[in-house]
Symmetry: C2
Subunit: 92 residues, 2 copies
Amino acid sequence: MSKQVDAQLQIAELRARIDDIDERIVQLLNERACQALAIRELKPEAQLGLYDPKREEEIFERLASLNEGPLFSDDLRAIYAAILRVSKEMRS
Amino acid sequence: MSKQVDAQLQIAELRARIDDIDERIVQLLNERACQALAIRELKPEAQLGLYDPKREEEIFERLASLNEGPLFSDDLRAIYAAILRVSKEMRS
């Protein structure tokens, strides 16, 4: 087998692994969204504002403390900025 | 217990669940990054370009097909735009 074809097969295998990982990430993002919607419904009764910058900062700090790489904490922050933005804009 | 305090306790519990979910998401994002780095190293030998819009579109379509909500597929697309951007900008 040529080196080129061998590399292409290896890439196909790695992409299949990424597909499996993505399936789990999608499930977790939806589970996260369910909890976020439940929190949002409780906020008026808890007399908490819908937007809580302190909680967001807490999340970013926690991500950094959990991070073992190869992503940098700034990368996780950029990804979570999108997750939190989507979360705020969800319709219940 | 007042309704306000009860709602606050429920929120604290839901946030703890989100923290657990985030821990798993961070781990999966890093696993994904490892595979993406391995793919990038193989690309020259496979004679594939570093940026592959067809593969990106395939990922977006797959996310939509896996999605069971409550997130919309456009939400997943927005989150994955950040994941794929970070992935392209990673240093090996």
